[in-house]
Symmetry: C2
């Protein structure tokens, strides 16, 4: 994985009516085009530091890929901003459904919205994993400690996968969905199971993030931000534990409270 | 327009290891499906308070609609979460191009990315509009004052259209793209010209927001947040003024400094 990317730009900083020229760090945003079995599938806008993981995470999230055996080849060209992936199996139905995808809140990826709701309905989260509040505060502090690119540019969302003890995988991106997809891709490559893990993020919890996390099979989602009504409805329905507003030694448990040790 | 929507939920608030049940406000998130000339086009996830404006703004942003004469009919069903729009003219090409859209940073809508770059290239921003720093600070303060739903739920992004004096149109949504599309839809319905206005937003400035604002013809974009490298490259190329990091009496001018009175 190349170093995290940021650029420096000359800007005019103004305080009151006094101005001065300064050099400022800006997060890199680049297009990444994913080709699936020779056909252009999508162009993602990303920080560009983990293109292999992002492309794989995207295909996993969108249902194109399920198991490692189906991944025939992957070719990443960071310069050109392309990832070419060959999968075995018949993808026709997935592609057709995906074409009907909802776009969304302005933080959208895809997949047919109601189709997802249906498929989620069939797979409730059953994990017996629990977490103590003190551990949640620690994990959020650790996430913030790891956020170098955010401190430098203020332009990314951070996400991490943790076990009951510590953060195992940390990723950031200009898009909060991409940050989670990078984690999913990394876990796929390293064969890290997800069903006994916690996902910690700085982003707001909309229905789409809940759907993404539920499809990963992660039973506990922790955020420093607020959830939406639909995110709570979905989390409730599938039995996902949703903890929001984690700041210092405070947090709010919205759903799935049986996994929080009170 | 119905009242802004929020729901109350019972949650467990935890401080340290002490827990108590509380009632908390949560922003409403609902699906809105847009039908164009009888065909389902997209499902947006939104606060659901300005469905007519959002649907029109979306069609304007994505290039399906340009002038009021082409709008034959619009039927909004807030209960069902649908907007049915009939447009005159041949939409085949637009639909085909739109089908090839990029998805993006996790804050994506659509339209073919490079196609947009090309079309922007042809239309540089030429407005002579200028703004003084003191006015920028005032507009951001006014945006914050108007943000009732944000204060209540912490779950929305706010955007506003302003002239050189004050805010004319304020909208919020769970998605920062939707908030801007609602403004565009409102201006279309009320025939408010955009070429001499400023857009003020709380959201981060990625390439997609720059593209959206440039297509609106708004010459100055102001945000309390940070831009990305690609947003700056695009803004520079088309001559858009980009002001970020507006907090209190400080701000940063990234591009198009000739419109800022120093």
């Amino acid at each position: 994985m190349p170093d995290r990317k940021h650029h420096t730009r000359e800007v005019i900083h103004i305080k009151g009516s006094d101005s001065q020229t300064e050099t400022r760090s800006v997060v890199q945003e680049v297009p990444l085009t994913v080709f699936l079995n020779g056909k252009e599938l999508i162009t993602l806008l990303t920080t560009g530091d983990a293109n292999r993981e992002l492309a794989l995470g995207f295909l996993l999230s969108e249902g194109f890929l399920q198991v490692k055996e189906d991944l025939k080849s992957i070719r990443v060209d960071d310069e050109a901003g392309t990832v070419e992936i060959e999968l075995s199996g018949d993808l026709d139905l997935t592609e057709k459904l995906w074409g009907k995808r909802a776009v969304t809140s302005g933080c959208g990826k895809g997949a047919t919205f109601y189709h997802i709701l249906d498929s989620l309905h069939a797979k409730p989260v059953s994990s017996q994993l629990t977490v103590a509040p003190a551990r949640v505060y620690e994990l959020m502090k650790e996430l913030n400690r790891l956020s170098d690119l955010y401190r430098e540019t203020r332009g990314v969302h951070n996400s991490a996968l943790a076990d009951g003890e510590k953060i195992l995988v940390f990723r950031d991106d200009i898009g909060r969905h991409n940050a989670v997809d990078k984690i999913r891709g990394a876990c796929f490559l390293d064969e890290i199971p997800l069903g006994d893990k916690l996902l910690v993020t700085t982003g707001r919890m909309s229905s789409e993030i809940v759907v993404k996390v539920a499809k990963m099979g992660v039973p506990i989602l922790i955020s420093r931000s607020a959830p939406t009504s639909l995110a709570l409805d979905l989390a409730e329905r599938i039995g996902l534990t949703l903890i929001g507003y984690v700041r210092g030694d405070k947090m709010t448990v919205y759903t799935g409270k049986q996994r929080v040790l009170l």
